[in-house]
Amino acid sequence: MTLDVAIAAAKVLFSLFLALQVMGLGVFFERKVSALIQNRIGANRAAIFGFAGLGLVNTLVADPIKFLLKEDITPAEADRLLHFVAPCASLVPALATFAVVPFGDVLEVGGRMINLQGAELNVGLLFVLAMASLGVYGVVLGGWASNNRWSLLGGIRGSAQMISYEIAMGLALIGVVLTYNTLDLQEIARAQGHLLWGWVPAWGILYQPLAFVIFLVAGIAESKRIPFDLPESESELVSGYFTEYSGAKHLMFMMSDFVEVVLVAALVTTLFFGGWQVPYLGRDGFHFPWGAALALPSLAVAIVQVTAFALKMIAFTWLQIVIRWTLPRFRYDQLMRLGWKGLLPLSLANVMVSALLVLLAERGA
Amino acid sequence: MPPTAPLTWYLGLSAALFAIGAVGVLIRRNVIVIFMAIELMLNAVNLTFVALARSLGSMDGQVIVFFVMTVAAAEAAVGLAIIIALFRNRETTNADELVTLRW
């Protein structure tokens, strides 16, 4: 009984650890990739004993220390309790979603098969949508509790944007659910392991390409990244809904931004790119289509799978960062028009076509 | 096996929530908070349905909860639209002042 609890706690802590490490890398990439795109070098001055590590020390050591040591200001007429709670309300749902993201297949330890997923819910995808819905409160309460007109405007705009794109995100996911017949993310990842025509891994992108595009766009809009960052547009609303936040609370808001980037990357890899699947890698080793096989112990297989998952997450985090530093910002009405008149009908059409194809495939089989 | 909470405790908790919601509707003056108390009453009934569904082993209770949630969503949308329209005309959300339909 306690062993079960300890194993579950270890799995959750590991998935959180993975998420936060990739988030840290994401912050570093943000600095360096933006610098490369803009033909400059980026921050690289902070150094420990002369070791500056290309700016790693600056981004991952100096910046957090700076944020944590800054003075924590609460505006005069602001609502103290909600001003304190809003950053937490923004960060906690984003981190909690990582509990249902699978980071490996199974690990066999002492005759016991451990499913490498933090929480084995049979309504995993709905849990993801539920946490996305709860993320709205951090934005709207943070905007209101600052007692600042521009924060309130940024907060209302941000939450309106988030609830609009939540709908397109959910409907895109219905296409995925129709294809795999389950809401459990681990089962979806496992189902992408078999091979089409003997050698093509059956990843989700081959079955639901439109859902991938809709989900990626809606996910970027959910996390309020450029090109959808009007709620926090630096040139127009000062800092939008987190203008009046300083020090550790500001750090929490920024963290929740990057955690959501990593979350969208993790979900896209799990649903559309096989998650932890490495092509031709089964539970007992590699089985290549040309006949060769390589047997591997369970621990090695698990390590390869977790590494593959982490690399895929990093790739999609990098993609979102490049998108951020390349595209200009959407105007608010263009943003809402895209969400309601563009993505929503497209995702509905995707659901109908997917349902029709699933029905035909079942009739034909 | 640790002892599980008996069904009657869930029903009692649901009755308490319903009573709190009903008292809220009676004593508050702000129409939005009255509306929130109505949602609280609906949720108390949801708890009753889910507890009884499990006790009787039938999924019908959960299906009814699904419908209650849908109807509550529709009702919240229309009710808040009414409040917005009312506020635009009367500039108040105090239930004591919205008395035009009374004779």
Binding site: V136 | L7, V23, I27, G57, V65, T70, A85
Partner: protein, 164 residues
């Protein structure tokens, strides 16, 4: 759900519900309502109703209360009210009535013996089980609620539109 977990969560739930009903600021009432709905979702998980619990968070806590907060901020009703409740006699009678009802129900429940719980079928509370009941025995109400939602959307937009 085990007894100590139930008692702790029930105490939190009643405290949150009382905050909804008594706090003078509407924004705090809305936040307390979110907490109440989330705790109810936890109760649903403990009662083997996982799909309903997820829907409770998505629909109720994540959409309906956000709508409440939007209306509160749109109409700028965020000020703390100086006199949130009606007069003292009304409050006394209402609270007395509420306490009387709860006492009545509690005493009736004490005299009742709960039916013996049959073994739950496999997959109770999961999506497939709910869907099976929903699309067979409850198909007509399902279609009617979709029409109801359409009517509600059209009605809400029509009511809240600004007349030019």
């Amino acid at each position: 759900m085990s007894v100590p977990v139930f008692l702790v969560l029930a105490a939190l739930l009643v405290a949150a519900a009382l905050t909804v009903v008594t706090h003078p600021s509407p924004v705090y009432s809305a936040c307390a309502l979110v907490l109440t709905l989330f705790l109810l979702s936890v109760f649903f998980v403990g009662l083997d109703a996982q799909l309903v619990a997820a829907l409770q968070v998505i629909v109720y806590a994540g959409a309906i209360v956000v709508l409440f907060l939007f209306v509160i901020m749109l109409l700028n009703l965020t000020q703390t009210e100086p006199h949130p409740t009606g007069g003292a006699p009304l409050v006394a009678v209402a609270v007395g009535g509420g306490v009387a009802v709860v006492t009545l129900v509690a005493s009736a429940l004490r005299r009742v013996t709960a039916p013996s719980t049959p073994g739950l079928p496999a997959g109770f509370g999961e999506t497939a089980a709910l869907a099976r009941r929903l699309f067979t025995a409850y198909l007509l109400p399902f279609e009617l609620t979709s029409v109801l939602l359409l009517v509600a959307i059209v009605g809400a937009v029509g009511l809240a539109k600004r007349r030019p």
